[in-house]
């Protein structure tokens, strides 16, 4: 059973659909990325998965639970968490408080869980009493990811977690993403950086003009004529 399954999802802003009839699954313990040109509907799809936007058609499942019509605030406690692209931490709160907020919907021992996560994100541990607004952009992104882990998610959806980061930090963030997947969590990453996505992901989906144009194993996708696909000149498969 996939950790996340989206079937024939159509959604958009108001009555205008941005994404059309998209199907996608994220297996447990794998990293799946969505790449594509600007305006392809990648972030719109991510927002639809987590209930920020409503799917007009289709179905979204977290394991065997249908969350398509579930109120957005109930989705995280049912195993699907979302890390937005920018401004994804509470800047006036400390690192510790950010994690505590993330753990509010957790079922387990919040303190133990926080210590567990901080033992992995070691620099967050050192900075636990500092305000998140004082962290660097990369550190803020890692904090947002760490905070999402507080609810022990089945699936985590990351919207461009390395946007605007230095190469060094991009590596750090991707390494942590791979570690999360190794624990059995399904990870779906919306990514602009094609090279990184192909390097770190197990499965890749290429969105073009609101549709899931091409998808497959990362190794298979790497062998395709990606510029042509991005420009919509290649056939879907």
């Amino acid at each position: 059973m996939p950790a996340l399954l989206a079937e024939n999802v159509t959604a958009g802003y108001g009555r205008t659909p941005i994404i059309n009839d998209i199907s996608l699954s994220v297996e447990q313990g794998t990293v799946t990325t969505i790449i594509g040109p600007n305006g392809a509907g990648k972030s719109t799809f991510a927002k639809t998965l987590v209930g920020i936007l409503r799917a007009s058609t289709g179905r979204i499942m977290v394991e065997d639970l249908d969350i398509t019509r579930m109120p957005g605030h109930l989705i995280p406690r049912n195993g699907l968490v979302y890390v937005p692209q920018n401004d994804n931490v509470f800047k006036s709160l400390t690192v510790r408080e950010n994690l505590e907020v993330g753990g509010f919907a957790a079922k387990g021992d919040t303190v133990a869980r926080m210590e567990e996560i901080l033992s992995v994100f070691t620099d967050l541990n050192k900075a636990r009493e500092k305000r998140a607004g004082f962290l660097s952009g990369g550190q803020q992104n890692l904090l947002a990811i760490a905070r999402a882990l507080m609810v022990e998610p089945k699936v985590i959806v990351l919207d461009e977690p390395t946007a605007g980061l230095s190469p060094a930090y991009t590596d750090v963030v991707w390494n942590q993403i791979e570690r999360i997947a190794k624990t059995g969590t399904g990870v779906l990453v919306v990514e602009q950086n094609v090279e990184r996505a192909l390097k770190h992901a197990d499965f890749v989906h290429i969105f073009v003009a609101g549709s899931n144009h091409v998808h497959g194993l990362a190794s298979e996708i790497a062998s395709l004529d990606l510029p042509a696909i991005f420009l919509g000149r290649a056939e879907a498969k």
Partner: protein, 351 residues
């Protein structure tokens, strides 16, 4: 009691009362980020309900008001606070559910104007522009207080009430609930993405803040003995905003400092000073301008206020829940985020 001490205790009352009002607005704006420009409307409703519920039946008084139940102090205060909270539910459902930031602020300003027009013109309910007068002085009968001795006693009682409400507010702001309020203030979208019912928390914040507004208004009407509609002009909301911005948004101690500096020393103290010869009322106009200039200066040079917001530590007992049954990442070694990317320092590296 000499006139000097009468004025001093009047100022003490003002300081504590505006401390309560500031705590109410602070939890809405300073903690939750709700720009409530209709705040004075909640204060006015609390004042009216406290006053009207403590008065005897309106028959034969020459005034028109509802209730007239002779509710004793402090139960009338609780009624005033509850009425303001009830109004907050209405305002939140109408305005807060769908509107954000600047749009919400515009709608709340319009609410404030509507509140004012209704209280000033609807005679059967609020006695119109005449308002209420002869509101009973609380505890006066019990302690056989004269008009003079009532002032210091009530100032001290207000101080005790402010202390209790400060303790309660500190419990709220230091709890997981308060932390969630601040998370919503920082970014309601991210809070929603983490599973927070943002509207539910905003409504809770509005209810708590409105209760404080109602109690603060109730104390004012009992101290002055009258409900005067001109006291609740929409601009009065900005005086309370000035108190919390000058004192320190998000810091309860800062609110007391702001109340002392702005409302007590700048607005009320000059009212006791003799007029400048040939310019009656000039001092009052000047002190209003001084408050405005002070607001500019603070926002420009020290937006965090005299006493800035501090980081809080939620008591461990409030965080501990059930034991987790899943171990995540325990098998992978720790990795430093600073590898090749610098260490975290306060005010330090930004990508």
């Amino acid at each position: 009691m000499s006139a000097f001490w009468y004025y001093v205790f009047t100022l003490v009352f003002v300081m504590f009362d505006y401390f309560i009002l500031a705590m109410g607005l602070n939890i809405q704006y300073g903690e939750t980020g709700i720009l409530n420009f209709a705040y004075i409307g909640f204060v006015a409703l609390g004042a009216y309900v406290t006053g009207a519920s403590s008065m005897p039946s309106s028959a034969g008084t020459g005034q028109q008001y509802i209730m007239g139940w002779s509710v004793p102090f402090p139960f009338n205060l609780v009624l005033g606070g509850a009425a303001a909270s009830l109004l907050a539910v209405f305002v939140a459902v109408v305005a807060l559910r769908r509107l954000r930031t600047d749009y919400l602020a515009v709608v709340l300003i319009s609410f404030s104007l509507v509140f004012y027009d209704i209280t000033n013109n609807y005679v059967p309910l609020f006695n119109g522009a005449d308002g209420l007068y002869n509101v009973p002085e609380p505890l006066a009968g019990l302690f056989k207080l004269t008009t003079n001795s009532f002032v210091p006693v009530f100032a001290i009682v207000t101080g005790l009430i402010a202390l209790i409400m400060w303790w309660a507010m500190s419990r709220i702001t230091n709890s997981p609930l308060g932390r969630t309020f601040r998370a919503i203030r920082d970014d309601d979208g991210v809070a929603a993405a983490l599973g927070k019912g943002v509207f539910r928390y905003q409504l809770t914040s509005m209810l708590i803040g409105a209760f404080y507004a109602g109690v603060g208004g109730g104390l004012l009407v009992q101290f002055g003995g009258s409900f005067n509609t001109t006291s609740w002009l929409p601009a009065e909301t900005f005086v309370v905003f000035a108190v919390i911005i000058v004192g320190g948004v998000g810091n309860n101690i800062g609110l007391l400092v702001g109340s002392l500096l702005v409302e007590t020393l700048l607005i009320h103290l000059p009212a006791f000073l003799p007029d400048i010869p040939g310019h009656p009322g000039l001092i009052q106009y000047i002190d209003t301008m001084v408050v405005g200039v002070l607001l500019w200066v603070m926002l420009w040079f020290r937006p965090q206020g005299v006493v800035p917001e501090r980081t809080r530590k939620t008591p461990l007992s409030l965080l501990q829940g059930l034991k987790s049954d899943r171990v995540v990442n325990s098998e992978v070694p720790a990795m430093s985020m600073s590898d090749g990317a610098g260490v975290i320092e306060e005010g330090g590296v930004r990508d």
